[in-house]
């Protein structure tokens, strides 16, 4: 059952991702992205990471994407109408590269002599809120702290670059 759900969510996520890239309307693209995020949450859930799944829905599909939509609507997201171009013919063979890479990797995984070393079933309590919190406060404490610096940079950067300046040539 879980396997079926995993592939179901995975397939939907790939489709949603492709539709997001292909759609010409920014609002529609954002909606597809939300759909992709929800499917990602489904994948987390089937991989016995329930806490991550909940966070994915709450934070990404919920808060962040709503902000996204607001910004897109505020800027009256552009609808790319006239611009249609075909991929140049000499680039077509490169489209085969990603599937080829995936095929090679999967083949490599399947043909491996010893597949037993990697744990398949998650231990009890895996992926719970307590365990995530425990890891964040012990093994990954430094990374956790560093992320706060990354966020400060993002804030300062957007302030520094976003200030309105009358001298900007496109104003």
């Amino acid at each position: 059952m879980e396997v079926i759900l995993f592939y179901f969510c995975g397939a939907l996520m790939v489709i949603a991702g492709a539709m997001m890239v292909l759609s010409r309307n920014a609002v529609v693209a954002a909606c597809w992205l939300i759909f992709a995020f929800i499917n990602a949450a489904g994948i987390y859930a089937t991989l016995s990471a329930p806490f991550l799944a909940v966070l994915q829905v709450l934070v990404y599909a919920g808060a962040i994407m709503v902000l996204f939509l607001f910004v897109v609507m505020m800027l009256q997201g552009p609808v790319l109408a006239g611009e249609r171009r075909r991929l140049r013919p000499w680039l077509w063979p490169f489209l085969l590269l990603p599937p080829l890479a995936i095929l090679l990797t999967v083949a490599g995984f399947l043909r491996r002599a010893d597949n037993t070393s990697f744990p398949v079933a998650a231990p009890a309590g895996f992926g719970s809120a307590e365990q995530v919190a425990g890891l964040l406060l012990s093994r990954y404490l430094l990374a956790f702290e560093l992320i706060s610096i990354v966020l400060i940079v993002a804030i300062i950067g957007s302030l520094a670059l976003g200030k309105v300046d009358r001298r900007q040539p496109w104003k």
Partner: protein, 508 residues
């Protein structure tokens, strides 16, 4: 179930080994707040704070050189020989850039407005690069790359009134997003193959249970994409010329050496730890044969240096030409990775240090000239040999060092790289690199010709001597003297690199 949960909060005691990084992080905050306190009316406040912080961090980094390898707060970060080596490299590059930004009119503007966040971000960029050189866990690898990346985008787009600068920032963000996405995919497959996130754990799992060559090849190539983007190797280089040309020149100067060297530091730690058990054990690893690593790197290196040099030939903008030349240099440095031996590592470290001196020098010369001429076009460089003789002579030294001619440090650096390649009997690669050096001579000498053998145009004031600021002389001389000095007496720096390799820890 909270009572059953065991949380071992890592001890704070080993934070002492992270003094340079902590200094840089706090300087970042102090410079920001300092600028707020003076309400942006005293541009020297953030500048002085950043300068002081970097000097202090450099002092700590030098003082910690002899310390044994230590992890800091858990298993994510290690401060060992390689990290100490790169810390010094980054801090010297950061210091030179901070000093030069103060003279640059692109950054400070004609009215010398406050640039609090600029100096703060420059400090943080240096700190982030140090973390990149210390990461020993996939998570930290990615996080440090993001920290350096985010800071770089802001710095690249710092001249908000310039369309080119904004374009540079946007291009940087988009290319970074794509390549780090691809790299994340590779890293997640590494985790899938081994079930480990630390580099050491990955190696042990790979050695104990070698994966199928196909899977390992795909995974290694995917990770190489992300790192190749960071060091701007062909074919992941597309962002580099536009970003280098569009970003403010002092920022370009540090981009061309800092994040690039940090990318190499990551590559060194990642591949020397996961594919072989350190530089001494390179011959015993069969993972290298499994993925045909030498051929992979040889191709990457050959394509990178040839492409960089050939395109540089056709540039008329000096900044853009130096951008392509820095791509070519990545090709030379990649030769050192051929078999992941300690000879190769020594050559890489030596060359990176030398490259930092000469490339920074060349870019800072462009900054100094841009302050006066407002131009980076080769035709405007005509007659600079007479208008600013000392500066032009120093630029000449940087250029022959970039070409790799004796008696400069560039020659010794290339000599070590060629020696490492020839020792592995990859003759065609060495011959190709030699040919490339000859090609590069042509475009480097075009700048020299413009400066010394072309008369300046006879328009008003175009032949008058330039009023070069003392600070510009001092910083350029501080980069130029070692560029010649290391060409004559390279022993100390080679020993410095050897010590770094001897204390390179691949095991804790």
């Amino acid at each position: 179930m909270l009572e059953t949960l065991q949380v071992n909060i890592p001890s704070w005691s080993d934070l002492g080994y992270w003094r340079p990084e902590l200094t840089l992080l706090s300087t970042f905050l102090v410079a920001l707040i300092g600028d707020l306190i003076v309400r942006g009316r005293r541009p020297w406040v953030p500048f002085t704070l950043a300068l002081a912080g970097m000097l202090l961090a450099l002092g700590f980094a030098v003082a910690d050189l002899g310390e044994p390898a230590h992890t800091v707060m858990g298993s994510l970060i290690i401060v060992d020989g390689i990290a100490s080596f790169f810390r010094i490299l980054f801090l010297v590059a950061g210091l030179a850039t901070v000093l030069f930004s103060w003279t640059s009119e692109e950054i400070m503007g004609v009215k010398r407005e406050a640039k609090g966040e600029y100096y703060a971000l420059l400090t943080l960029l240096t700190g982030g690069m140090c973390v990149m050189a210390e990461a020993r866990d996939i998570l930290m690898l990615f996080l440090s790359m993001e920290l350096v990346g985010l800071t770089s985008y802001v710095l690249a787009g710092y001249m908000r009134t310039s369309l080119r600068s904004t374009e540079a920032a946007v291009k940087y963000v988009i290319f970074a997003a794509v390549s780090s996405g691809i790299m994340l995919y590779g890293l997640s497959l590494f985790y899938g193959l081994t079930g480990e996130t630390t580099f050491v754990g990955i190696r042990e799992a790979l050695f104990a249970n070698p994966p199928h060559p196909y899977a390992l090849l795909v995974v290694v190539v995917l990770v190489l994409v992300g790192m190749g983007y960071k060091i701007a190797a062909v074919p992941f280089h597309h962002w580099a010329p536009d970003v280098y040309e569009g970003a403010p020149t002092p920022v370009t100067a540090i981009f061309s050496v800092g994040p690039k060297a940090a990318g190499f530091a990551l590559m060194i730690r990642f591949f020397y730890t996961t594919l072989v058990a350190g530089p001494e054990a390179a011959g015993t690893s069969n993972l290298l044969r499994l993925v045909d690593w030498p051929l992979l790197i040889a191709l990457l290196s050959a394509v990178t240096m040839t492409y960089g040099n050939l395109v540089a030939l056709r540039q008329t903008n000096v900044k853009r030409m130096l951008a392509y030349s820095s791509i070519a240099h990545v090709g030379y440095i990649l030769m050192g990775f051929l078999l992941l031996t300690s000879d190769g590592l020594q050559a890489i470290l030596f060359y990176l240090l030398v490259y930092m001196l000469m490339n920074l020098g060349a870019f800072l010369f462009v900054v100094a000239i841009n302050n006066h001429l407002r131009s980076e076009e080769l035709t405007d460089y005509a007659g600079l040999g007479f208008r600013a003789p000392w500066l032009a002579t120093m630029m000449f030294v940087f250029l022959i060092s970039l070409t790799g001619l004796p008696p400069t440090a560039g020659f010794i650096g290339k000599f070590f790289l060629f020696k490492a390649v020839l020792a592995q009997e990859w003759y065609w690669l060495a011959i190709l690199a030699g040919l490339n050096s000859v090609i590069s001579l042509f475009y480097y000498m075009r700048v020299t010709k413009a400066m010394f053998f072309t008369e300046p145009a006879e328009s008003d004031g175009a032949a008058a001597p330039l009023a070069i600021k003392p600070l510009e002389y001092v910083v350029l001389a501080a980069l130029c003297i070692p560029t010649i000095g290391l060409g004559i007496w390279w022993g100390p720096v080679r020993d410095f690199a050897d010590q770094a390799i001897a204390r390179f820890n691949v095991g804790i």
